[in-house]
Symmetry: C2
Subunit: 326 residues, 2 copies
Amino acid sequence: MAKITDVAARAGVSLSTVSRVMNGNPTVDPVLAERVRAAALELGYTANPLARSLVLGRTQTVAVVIPDLGNPTFQAILRGLSRAAADDGYHVLIADSAEQVDEERVLAVATRRRTDGVILCAPRLDQASLDVLLPELAPVVVVNRAAQDSAPVVAADYRTALGELVEHLYGLGHRRVAYLAGVPRSASNAARLAALADARAAHPDLEIAELPSGVDFDSGAAAADAVCASGATAVLAFNDLVAMGLLSALTDRGIRVPADISVAGFDDIPFARYTSPPLTTAAVPAAELGAQAWAAMHALLTGAESVPFVALRPQTILRGSTAAAP
Amino acid sequence: MAKITDVAARAGVSLSTVSRVMNGNPTVDPVLAERVRAAALELGYTANPLARSLVLGRTQTVAVVIPDLGNPTFQAILRGLSRAAADDGYHVLIADSAEQVDEERVLAVATRRRTDGVILCAPRLDQASLDVLLPELAPVVVVNRAAQDSAPVVAADYRTALGELVEHLYGLGHRRVAYLAGVPRSASNAARLAALADARAAHPDLEIAELPSGVDFDSGAAAADAVCASGATAVLAFNDLVAMGLLSALTDRGIRVPADISVAGFDDIPFARYTSPPLTTAAVPAAELGAQAWAAMHALLTGAESVPFVALRPQTILRGSTAAAP
DNA sequence: CTGTTAGCGCCTTCAT
DNA sequence: ATGAAGGCGCTAACAG
């Protein structure tokens, strides 16, 4: 691999001149510049990014910490982020913590050292740990959870979105609703609970039972009996996977959706529209969330003005899985 | 951020000694070593990975080039790869070429310079370009396509897998089968066509019509009319998304699956089991593919013995979307 | 406008 | 066993 001294020798100039030319510094004699460019081309020279990183103090790379690369929402966030970063000439280092919450912190700090900043998706990390972690990570952008002013936040507005879903069900005449809670300690679950509290306050005749569940298909299926026992006429699932699992288990039991019971999901993952019946859900703009997270990071990196808090409003998508209460 | 000289000063030793201690070099007085460790701990010192990378000539990072982060198969490959690499203490840089085949080459070369190697998923890159690209990328591992000895290959055996699917249909009495071809120029499509040729040779009474299609849900839906017109009693879709689109469109037309027509997919994406009817398909072990790709790269990086070609056999999954010919 | 020089932070011979 | 010194490849003052 050709190095800068090789190019300098070939062009008969000093290495500083080569550096200047390669970096577009205009204070170079056009003739020399051309000679340098020719030499660089012949040698297929490109500056070693590592050496540049060391001297410049920036790597043109950011780290994205994600709890689970198998989760469609994080996949979409990563996709949106990666493409937006690429458009700005940045690279992305991924760190999948594989749901190991205790690893998350170490991972974030480790990746931070080889990058210019980190975008943190850590919904299950407790707030106290997060608060001490963030300053250590700066510049850092937090996705989908609060970060008391120590970092810009880009989040979907789960509270409003779930609120709309509740209103939708209430408008259909449902008065007994079950909520399948996902990870109880996650930030987005807290937002959802707030939405339920809002709804209860607004509608005294509305009963919302909170049933435990997980975050995946099987959890939804496993909750079917509890849902039936609760006497609810409508279910708000933690996410689409849970809703789909529930849908499947209910169907197996001969319970008709939405005739007997309405089911709503959350996220609008790609397959939500293809279930039968298609799933009513709140479309979280995950890829856009990723793009916005990048935008926030880019602003941090370039010292540009930036919004400290970006809230993206999920869109309520009404499909066939919800209907009037029986 | 503390640097090695800070630790040296605090411990009252030279920076070489600190370096030795941090790297576990045993030729250091235990007393000094302990003093160094204490100093490092107090200062929260960790060697700057960038500086190490520059001097050591290795970054502990590999690049993964992927054509589309939105594709479930590549997502799974990335997940398996990322976790396997993390287990060996390596980081992963992702490069999503967003299906821009011409960008793929530049991207691969660019990311290669900041990493120790690249794992290349480039199913649509033409073979000639690939052949000149690979030497430039070494060490490099190629996923899901041939690489004439210039790099280790880790691939799913599409040919055998599709062959099994055909046999399955043939065994069910189907004699007129339609194949919904995906991207004609992709490597895996070539493997699939080879499987069809095998089947035709083995069963003279078997007719297989090749119908053009894309690779996504909508392509499958759009192919419904052509499928009906073809008179086929069974369809092999390029992948599960195409199969699901077809399934949906057929259902809309009142055509029953599998009573009127059988449909088989490919890949076994997470939702294939949840369609109605559930999809018969070939389960490509994508995450395992990623893990194997990492293993191959790790071998390359450590100079270990390695297998030049790993073929992973997809498992045929029989579900409800295929049945006896009407 | 160009070349020389001093680092960026670290590892590693080479002496001692 | 330890320290001094050179260099990884490049950029950015500083002279000239």
